[in-house]
Amino acid sequence: MCLAIPGQIVEMFDDDHHYAVVDVCGVRRKINIDLLKNERLFLGDWVLIHVGFAMSKISEEQASEQLKLLSMLDESDEAIEEVKGYQFDKERI
């Protein structure tokens, strides 16, 4: 639970500032970005994701480090499972 998942922002919504779409190893899911409302997020930015929420903005280099860490810990499949498990993107919450 303590390990966060890195994802890249691939879609932002003009009409809904609570959410963005991230790409995590090819899997796309909507996540909540309210915890980063003090930071300006742009398309292409990388974030650490925890339970469906963006927790911190990170650099691309840190993102690839984190992905490497997950694979060294044999946790990448679980991370992708988790992201696939987010169901709330099917409708606006």
Partner: protein, 370 residues
Amino acid sequence: MKYVDEFRDPELIRKISEEIRRLVDPNYHYRFMEVCGGHTFSIFRFGLQNLLPENIELVHGPGCPVCVLPMGRMDDGLSIAQQPNVIFTAFGDVMRVPGKHGTPLELKARGADIRMVYSPLDALKIAMDHPDRQVVLFAIGFETTAPSTALTLMRARELDVSNFSVFSNHVLIIPAIQAILDSPDMRIDGFIGPGHVSSVIGARPYEFIAKKYRKPIVISGFEPLDLLQSILMLVKQMREGRFEVENQYSRVVPYKGNISALDIMKEVFEVRPLFEWRGLGTIPQSALKLRPEFAKWDAEVRFQVEGARVNDPQMAQCGEVLKGVLKPQQCKLFGKECTPEHPVGALMVSSEGACAAYYHYVHLQDAVGK
């Protein structure tokens, strides 16, 4: 078990590990506590203890949220799950934690509607999809997870979803560290501070550890190199007689933390006067409950919760292991009655629990080696 050559930068790893060896006092036995379960997991997975001199001992702390949950809270949650018309939701780790009458998974097999979710927002979605049912989220986690629960509650209020409620078991890291520092049977020389909890609370709340208790603390990332660097920083501080909060993970952890996450937590939660922790007893001001403004979404208000107190199974020594007094394999049940397949205590459930980590990466290795 990983070997040094598999690490990202084996040369640097060797250098740091040699530097640690060079700087330690050979006549002193160092005890450093990694507070966070994510660190415990990393340390075991990478076999980091093998890269350290024998007189540095890593003690596993209370930073795994399912491990510190007392059985009574589990049973309170499960009593809600068994009420008619309830859909009970929980994260994966919680599903295998034993209560007095079984785990959530076992109760589900017996007919209760218990569902695993990956996000608190999914519990809210289930509530919106089933307006005729009561949907309850069993919320756990330190400050890494609490802001997400808080935001989900704010969304529930905004969207006026009235059949959703949260059974909050959110706990706070600082009072847990304080309890360990105040515990008479503890002798910790320094702390490896949690990485992702600190991205929310920042480095500032740890200042009292350095100032009042005169112990060094280094906030650390999760890679082998991060952890070794942090241990080196602790050794250096001790050698130089310094007690400071240092931030090895500054690429993710700002000194002041995540202000909007902290504000959101404050808006939704208040601090409980007392909360029981497995192994650490009752700690004042160590957990979060919903504010009265959110009473409508508070499962403790909506359902009759007994406030059960259940003693851990006899012979289980989860408490001693959580405080770092015993090593997992010193528990009488370790690897016998208590295994990851049939956990007696929560420390055997989550991959971040000391017993499960130890079982997978040390016990198995010993078995193969024999």
